[in-house]
């Protein structure tokens, strides 16, 4: 305890660099998965009928499936596809939410009411039905999955950001900035942007697993990515048929990898928020 009291600066600096190291490591691993997935694209599709349904071994770490395809290569390729779909859908969705929340807070009045009404409308509709309808209308495929998830997942985040933005806009410090002659654009840039960054990052990160799960669900229903493409959703859906035959590696290993990647992305989001917050900027 006395050591902590005597050298607070040292302790804070250490914690900050630890968080930075965590973020760096997570980003590297996630990028590594994306690169490895790209390199494994061919291997993921190569069939070898002599190596069918093999369990994990030195030559096939994650085993092989019923067509003798290497599951490690398929998992990496699948993770890459899931990451691309998840990140794209989460970012587009969060960008819609940010734009709507900011315009509601900055312009207020009719714009604010319209945004509130739109959020209520979308929240009232069951989003899975909407998701299926949008994906169906767009004819399926990776692009359709991204569009469908992005178009159905902005309302919750919009509501959170709008609430936070309203709180900032009605604060004393914004009133004083107005009194000192600053306009709406200046206040949005200087006050609003900083206060929304943390919520925006966390909201985007929380959208990410949702996007991946919906990608899997849509692919399972045949409206998502092409069944030939090894997305994690398709791998898991295929593995269901072989689990009873004892082929546990088909579901467990890709599932665990997905869990690890989602956790890493979560770490990146929450640590970045902590690093940006002045109250913990030196923690």
């Amino acid at each position: 305890m006395t050591a902590v009291l005597e050298r607070p600066g040292r302790r804070f600096a250490d914690r900050r660099s630890r968080t930075l190291a965590w973020v760096g490591l997570s980003v590297l691993v996630v990028l590594g998965v994306v690169v490895a997935g790209g390199l494994a694209a061919d291997a993921a599709q190569t069939t070898s009928l002599t190596d069918r349904n093999l369990g994990p071994s030195a030559s096939h770490w994650f085993g092989t499936d019923r067509l003798g395809r290497d599951m490690l290569a398929r998992t990496l390729a699948g993770l890459r596809l899931s990451l691309v779909v998840g990140v794209a859908a989460a970012v587009v969705s969060a960008a819609i939410a940010l734009a709507l929340a900011c315009s509601a807070a900055v312009f207020g009045g009719v714009v604010d009411r319209a945004v509130g009404w739109l959020v209520d409308l979308f929240l009232a509709l069951p989003h899975l039905v909407l998701l299926i309808l949008v994906a169906f209308a767009l004819g399926g495929g990776t692009g359709a999955v991204v569009a469908a998830v992005a178009l159905t997942h902005w309302p919750t985040l919009t509501r959170v950001l709008r609430g936070r933005a309203r709180e900032v806009m009605s604060s004393d410090y914004v009133a004083i900035s107005r009194q000192q002659g600053h306009g709406r654009g200046w206040i949005a840039r200087r006050h609003l942007a900083g206060h929304l960054t943390g919520h925006f990052l966390v909201g985007t990160v929380l959208l990410f697993p949702h996007a991946i799960l919906h990608e899997a669900a849509l692919s399972f229903l045949g409206l998502g990515v092409d069944p030939g493409e090894p997305s994690i959703g398709i791998l898991l859906a295929e593995s269901m048929r072989h689990l009873t035959a004892g082929a546990w590696w088909l579901a467990v290993l890709p599932g665990l990898c997905l869990l690890v990647v989602v956790t890493l992305v979560d770490t990146i989001g929450s640590s970045s928020r902590a690093l940006l917050d002045p109250r913990s900027h030196h923690l």
């Binding site: 004393d172 410090y173 004083i176 009194q179 002659g181 306009g183 900083g194 109250r279």
Partner: protein
């Protein structure tokens, strides 16, 4: 002269009136005390004078004209009781002061110490933050200052220091001050004259 002429104000149509035809005048360079019990509408009157709130009836004038600054600081600046709410918690003291657009070189060291400039509001004490708050209001060179309970949450020594600095700066620049407080002895010490505000009658709603 900062003048409120028959000012009426309420926070919403279905809320009772807070200001009922209030009149008030402050000469340039004068320090006027406004005393009254809590909930009597003192702060609301301060906010109306500073242009934070628009009166429903009546008008507030500075030298005979209603101030309508566009992209320029309002001639009446408000210093609030809680400085931690008046400064963006994500800004350093330097950023908060620089937002006024004024040069920080000529800053009075007794008001804002150089060491505080790169700290966040939660990293300096309440009294120090209130001095930053006051310095920010003075940096935009206002004609009038509304000081709303600026020393209510501070100890006696810090209170005395803040008021001495405020009065000194305002005397130098000829700034008129409306000092709002429920502490009559304090107002009698700092202000030339003290007005009493009676509480809003319930029947006014």
């Amino acid at each position: 002269m900062l003048q409120a002429e028959g000012v009426w104000f309420r926070y919403a149509r279905d809320r009772p009136w807070v200001l009922t035809g209030d009149d008030l005048g402050i000469e340039a360079g004068e320090v006027l005390g406004l005393c009254g019990p809590s909930g009597g509408g003192k702060s609301t009157l301060g906010r109306v004078l500073a242009g934070h709130l628009r009166p429903d009836r009546g008008r507030v004038t500075v030298d005979g004209a209603v101030p309508r600054p566009r992209r320029a600081p309002h001639p009446v600046q408000l210093v609030l009781q809680q400085p931690e709410r008046a400064i963006d918690p994500r800004w350093t003291v330097r950023q908060a002061l620089a937002a006024t657009g004024a040069e920080l070189d000529g800053l009075d060291e007794r008001l804002v110490h150089r060491d505080w400039l790169d700290r966040y509001p939660h990293e300096i004490s309440g009294g120090e933050l209130q001095r930053v708050n006051l310095a920010r209001a003075l940096l935009v060179r206002p004609r009038y200052l509304v000081a709303d309970e600026i020393s209510a949450s501070l100890d006696a020594v810090t209170q005395a220091r803040i008021w001495t600095l405020l009065l000194e700066h305002c005397r130098e620049a000829g700034i008129g001050v409306l000092a709002i407080s429920h502490d009559r002895p304090l107002l009698e010490t700092v202000a030339g004259r003290v007005l009493d505000r009676s509480p809003v009658p319930d029947a006014a709603g």
